[in-house]
Structure formats: structure tokens, C-alpha cells
Symmetry: C2
Subunit: 300 residues, 2 copies
Amino acid sequence: MSTKKEEISEWFRQLQHNICTELEAEDGKAKFVEDNWERPGGGGGRTRVIQHGNAFEKGGVNFSAVHGELSENIVKALGISSNEFFATGVSIVIHPINPFVPIIHMNVRYFELADGTYWFGGGIDLTPHYVQEADARFFHSQLKIACDKFDAAYYSKFKNWADDYFFIPHRKETRGVGGIFFDRLKEDSSKSKTDIWNFVQAVGETFAPTYRHIVSKNKNQPYSDSNLQWRNLRRGRYVEFNLVYDKGTKFGLETDGRVESILMSLPENASWFYNFEPEPNGAEARTLALLVKGTDWASN
Amino acid sequence: MSTKKEEISEWFRQLQHNICTELEAEDGKAKFVEDNWERPGGGGGRTRVIQHGNAFEKGGVNFSAVHGELSENIVKALGISSNEFFATGVSIVIHPINPFVPIIHMNVRYFELADGTYWFGGGIDLTPHYVQEADARFFHSQLKIACDKFDAAYYSKFKNWADDYFFIPHRKETRGVGGIFFDRLKEDSSKSKTDIWNFVQAVGETFAPTYRHIVSKNKNQPYSDSNLQWRNLRRGRYVEFNLVYDKGTKFGLETDGRVESILMSLPENASWFYNFEPEPNGAEARTLALLVKGTDWASN
């Protein structure tokens, strides 16, 4: 498949559509609503949001293809030589209703400058309100399968990168059970641009079947008010990560991006209780103990 | 009164206590719970939190007096020449239950370096979920009275500073109806250190009677579920400001401060609905129209 920017972008647009179709089928009730928007500086996007479903309380699947000129600050921060850019990708965050269904995030993206510089980036990570080890293992094993087809070193490298990226320093907690994260991926002596693009496509295609399996398994589990309270506290941590640390959110807000598309990642509601301490040895404390870097979720 | 750092700190500690007593009296049900904490690098604080009262859902009144060495990054960012610091102050955020009672914030603080450099800073601002013009005028007139006793230029200067500081650029909204904000205040040809300290004390003493008046007037107003929903959306904006822009929050998180004391400013719950648009001409739309810089609230 061609790696021209128009075709990469068109593939991402189709990926957005396919994922929305899969998520609607899994939910069985709510439908995505669509907003098409234009970016004043060039390009635009198609934001799709699902709300108040059977399984999903609030979720967004965003496609965008934007172009224009980067500010001097950003050119400096990225260490690049040209300021005429093109960027396209799909970005997803889903907040489920049932506390035993994890939050999921995926982003796959392509960036190109007028001088021909380009790179791919992406990531996918799972944030269970309650860590269920079987789900974490399934999730990581699916990511490892996608990675291993392209490079035996990818999974381990990108898994560690996700551990470092999806981390909340002030809480000394990982956001969830991690996943993979990669950036500035481009051709080298062992891989062509097409190889890299095929890998990014494989990551994108892993999303729907992997998440549907986990949602389907847990969406009808019974839960209590105290499970909901804990879900909302964990959502509060998600808000902390996205607003304080997430680079995509910062970049979007600083470059005057479409706020409602950027902040669709925030949950419908989130809670903060002062100095909340879970009961020792309860399911909440067990989850906290697993929110650490370096867990090997993919072997056996 | 002396302006030695120990005495400034002791006055702040007493201010915290007095404000807690006043707020408990206004609430009539909940009592503050206290956590004393030590900072690994030196000093500590006394955090007091009120929860689930008649009037207040969650509020914190924090006193701290910390000392130690600033990192090179912070020394550079502050443009100072010494890294041995002492900092003391009181910091308050109150989230009421009734949507017609505004959120309030105050911070008064003193900072000193080993080389004798010092400054005072502070601010107080009001964030109504529904702007009631009479309350905004009362609030600003009380701040103007406190300022005018010390310098005829203070109110106007510090009011504009608050308009600029308590602003959410990505929403193009002020956080609320503003108040006053000042920083790096020290003696000059017209004022002694004692003059400045007296001003900061006057600001601190304005808090309790001013907020009690506004709480007392509104706390029994009837409200609907849709008023509560709007309250939670406005709380979402408060979370966005505090996590993305607030300098005190950033400083605290970056210097490994006590997270639960820093983030006691966050509400018990907050909401984000995708692309929420208030009804035209309703109370919510009227509030949004008033969340702009430059409103003159102090001249009748």
C-alpha cells in the first residue's frame, strides 16, 4: 500500500469508521454522533462520540488530518528544521459504565514536514478500574503478536516506553496496566517506510477485536455503589494524567486545537476524595499494588 | 507587629484556625479534620479538610511552613540568587453543595531566601456556578475596601492581575468573577515591609466575613437536578484550570509536595459532557456571557 500522506490519511479515516462500527455492535444501544470540523490554520477532522450506551458511558473516536505552520516554539521543542507540517491520525478514549470494564486509549498518527522529514507514532494502553490479571495478560499478548510480526525487539521496547509514558509521577502510580507506546518511527537500514506503515496499521487493527473481547467478558458483571465510587476515583486519576502530563493534550491545547475533540478523553464524571485509603487486602488495594512499572504481562 | 518569619508563620497558623472556626459555624454540621504532615526536605504543615456538611461538600484550609533547598530549575525559573528558602502561607478552596453558592479560593503567602530577599503574594477569587451580580459586586467591593486602606492603586492593579491569572485560555473563559491577585510584593520607597504585611493580613481577614455573607444568603436556595449538572460542569472547568494552569499546583507537584494537600482543591466530583451547549438566554448562558475579563464589579 502506498505511503503517500493522502492515502495514509484515508486509511486512518476508514479505521475510525471500522472501529466505530465494532464499538456500536459491542454496545448494542448507543450510536456515535459525528461532528466535522475545520481547523482555522488548515485541514480539519471528524470527531465521533458515543454516550449513554449499554456498555459505554462516554467515548470518543477522533480522526483528523491537519496542516499548516508550526510556531517557532514548537519547531524548537521538536528539534526540526521546517515549519510546514501535515499530521493525521486516529485517537480514541472509551470510558465504560461497568467498573469491571477497563478504560482504553489508542492513538496512531503520521507526521510529515515540507522538507520530507516524517515519522509515525502511536500507543495503546489499558486502564482497568480493577486490574484483572487475565485481561491484562490477554491485552499484552495481543499487542505482542502484532509487534512480533514486524520486529522481535518491538514489543519489549515499546512496552517499556508505555510504562514510562503512562505514569503519574505525583501519585507514583502507572495509569493502568500499560500497553505499547512508540514515537518518531521511520525507515532505517532494516525497514522501509512501508514496513513501518504496515506495523502502524497492524496496531490500529488490533484495537477492536482486543477491546471487544475484554468488554464482552466483563460488561455484565454485577457491581456495587462502592465499585462505582472507586471507578470514579480512578477516573479522577485519568483526568490528572491527561491534564497534567499527556503530550497530545498539551500540544492540542497549546496549538489552539478543537477543545471538545481534545477533551473528549475526559470521563462524564470523576471524583476526588481527600486522602482516600482503600481497605487493606481488598480488590482496590490489590489494584493499586499492580499499578507499577515493569510487570511482565506477556509471558505465559 | 514583627515581620520575622516565625511570627508571620504563626499569624498564618492562627488565621487558618480562625477561618476554620468561621466556616464550621456557617456550615452548622461538618467539622474540619486535621492532618499534620512533615516535608522530607524541611518543615511541614497542617491540612484541614471539611466534607459532607450542610453547606460545604468538600473544602480544604491548608497551612504550611516549609524550608529547604530549591532545585536549580526552580532557582532559574524564579530568577533568584540563593537556593535556601523558607515559605509559609494559608491556602483555601471551598466547594459548596448548593449550585447557587460560589466556589471560593484564597491564598496568602510569604517567601524568604537565606540572602534576605523576600516577598509576599496572594490572591482571592470567587467562582460562581451561576453568576449573581449582587454577590459579585459585594465580593469585589469588600476586596476594594481592604485594598484602599493601603494604596489607592492596589485594587485596580490586583483586580486586573486576577483577571489575567484566573483565566482558562483554551476555553476563552475566566474561571469565575475574579477578585485580586498579587505576587512579589515587597518594600519600596513608599511602603515598609510592615505596611505590606499589614495589607496581606487585611486580605486574609476579609475572607471569612465576605464568604460567610455570600454563603448565608444563598445556601438555602432551592435547586434542580439540572442546576446540579451545571454545577458539576463548572467544577470540571475548575479542575481544568487547576491541573493545566495553576502555578501553585504545578510548583507543588513538581517539588514533590504533599499531593493530598495540593489536590484538596479538586471537587468531590466533576463532569464533562461532550460539546455541552446551554439553552440560549437561560441562566447558564447568562453566566457564560459574564465569564470575561475587564468587568468592573466594584463601582456600583
